[in-house]
């Protein structure tokens, strides 16, 4: 669905993307993870033909991105983090503009608004929507066309957990319909839940890639089991046969309150590889 080879992009003297290779198969959810400024949005803009790049090759639907026709572009839905809506117009009127542009029947508008949970807000001006509702309206705009390929740039950034879960559900529904999804996020939990494959992007380079669980397993150096006892004591056991006996005896005594294996999350893998967090302290604080 998307093939990229050795993409390089510079802004003035700064190299923002360096030697990026991608191979995104049809029907998968691909997650590009990285902290703010890593080059995620730049990469989406390159793949969707919004930005020219210095070297490399990008193919979408098997065609060079520059050769995509209007019909090809109609099958691509793009929801960027900074894309706006027409504030003074109602949700339905916002969608009507794009129904006219794409030649989609108006009957799809109500259906799409219902899908994203905005049916009651159809006549409400976009300026009166909450942040989560606006995000759902932006998503409705791209879903209305039933795209084959969906680009979602930080689709849940700054949203409350309920709206986030709602959007995750919509994304999974699109996947079930056969849509290929390319999403960027710095939320590793979101990537673990949604993505079939992830790539970790740092300072313009992909530093690790694979299925989220594979990536985590690859960095499971510690192989430890952490047990919190009812007495308040924490014990750390090695991942071996001796520990099996010890855990069994603790279980029999009924003193185990929690038990965790120590395989890393995508966040800890990222920290191990780069020495920095996916989300800045500031973002974590205000999330």
């Amino acid at each position: 669905m998307i093939e990229a080879k050795n993409i390089c992009k510079r802004f003035a003297d700064r190299e923002v993307l360096s030697g990026i290779d991608l191979d995104i198969r049809p029907g998968m959810i691909f997650g590009l993870l990285g902290p703010s400024g890593a080059g995620k949005t730049t990469l989406i803009k390159i793949i969707t033909g919004q930005l020219v790049f210095e070297s490399g090759e990008v193919k979408v639907f098997g065609k060079n991105v520059a050769d995509l026709t209007g019909e090809d572009k109609r099958q691509i839905g793009i929801m960027m983090d900074d894309h706006g809506v027409y504030d003074r117009m109602s949700c339905a009127d916002n969608l009507k503009i794009f129904a006219d542009i794409f030649g989609v029947p108006y009957s799809n508008i109500a259906k799409t608004l219902k899908e994203v949970g905005l049916e009651d807000a159809a006549k409400k001006p976009a300026m009166k929507l909450s942040k989560g509702m606006r995000a759902r309206l932006r998503l409705a705009r791209v879903l209305m066309v039933s795209p084959k390929l969906l680009f979602l740039d930080e689709p849940t950034s700054g949203l409350d957990p309920m709206t986030m879960r709602y959007i995750h559900k919509l994304i999974m529904e699109q996947k079930e319909k056969g849509c290929t999804i390319f999403l960027t996020t710095h939320n590793m939990e979101e990537a673990s839940v949604l993505c079939d494959e992830v790539a970790l992007l740092n300072e313009g380079k992909i530093i690790e890639r694979g299925a989220p669980e594979d990536v985590c397993r690859r960095y499971n150096h510690q192989r430890k089991i952490l047990i919190h006892l009812t007495t308040g004591e924490d014990i750390e056991l090695a991942h071996d046969t001796y520990s099996a006996g010890k855990i069994s005896s603790l279980m029999e005594q009924g003193t185990v309150e929690t038990i965790h294996s120590s395989e890393p999350s995508l966040e800890t893998v990222f920290i191990e590889l780069t020495g920095r967090r996916l989300e800045s302290e500031e973002e974590v604080k205000y999330a």
């Binding site: 572009k73 706006g84 503009i97 006219d100 542009i101 030649g103």
Partner: protein, 228 residues
């Protein structure tokens, strides 16, 4: 063509709810009707307010409306969404241009009710040409301005020159000599004569040069900045 019609429809819906742009379209036609019917000063030239406000309307409404529409879409990143939906920049600009021109012509039609019926075709023809120049100038500002605030500060001096120069020219000969290079002043002269036969080659040439400059400037701005 479908996209151009979509842009026109979008603007129609949006402007009805956008008071700042709407007031530009309504203000001068309404003022003209009020002044023409309410004020009658002895020795005042015939249709003085209708002609004066027509030129001010031409120099102000299309220019500020086009600049405001384009710069707002840039600021809110809705223009980018349109471009990514495969709306071509020329389709967008023509759509906005047709919309603003049409609304301004409706406004001119309202002002035209003050004129004798025989003068209306000439009046509307002259206004139609003037609106096109103003729209091109407004589009230049909209293309250059990254957001509405910059657009307002850029459009204000241009608008003041084009809309107020003809009025000031009535009271000051020096200003009149300078104002004569602007299309709005020439259109004011044309409106005073109010006949196709009375169009002087000088007026025609100045309006044509203004139009040419506006179009060249528009293409230069578009080539340099694009629409994003």
């Amino acid at each position: 063509m479908r996209n151009v019609v979509t842009i026109v429809k979008k603007q129609l819906k949006d402007t009805l709810k956008n008071k700042t742009v709407l007031i530009q379209f309504v203000m001068f036609p309404v003022l003209t009707l009020i002044f023409e019917h309410a004020i009658n000063i002895p020795d005042m030239p015939e249709l003085f307010f209708a002609k004066l406000f027509s030129v001010m309307y031409m120099g102000m409404a299309p220019l500020t409306a086009v600049a405001a529409i384009i710069s707002e879409e840039k600021e809110k990143n809705t223009l980018r969404v349109l471009m990514m939906a495969n709306v071509k920049p020329w389709e967008y600009l023509i759509g906005v241009g047709i919309y603003v021109w049409t609304i301004c012509m409706v406004g001119a039609g309202v002002i035209a009710t003050s004129f004798p019926a025989k003068d209306i075709p000439f009046y509307l023809a002259v206004m139609a040409a003037g609106f096109i120049i103003s729209i091109a100038v407004g589009a230049c500002v909209g293309i250059f301005a990254p957001n509405q605030m910059v657009s307002t500060s850029m459009v204000l001096p241009v608008m003041l020159v084009f809309s107020f120069a003809p009025m000031l020219a009535m009271f000051n000969d020096k200003i009149e000599k300078i104002a004569r290079i602007f299309y709005t002043q020439q259109i004011r002269i044309l409106l005073n004569n109010m006949t196709f036969d009375g169009i002087k080659p000088e007026s025609f040439a100045i309006v044509a040069v203004n139009a040419l400059l506006a179009i060249i400037l528009f293409f230069a701005a578009f080539r340099k900045k694009g629409l994003e």
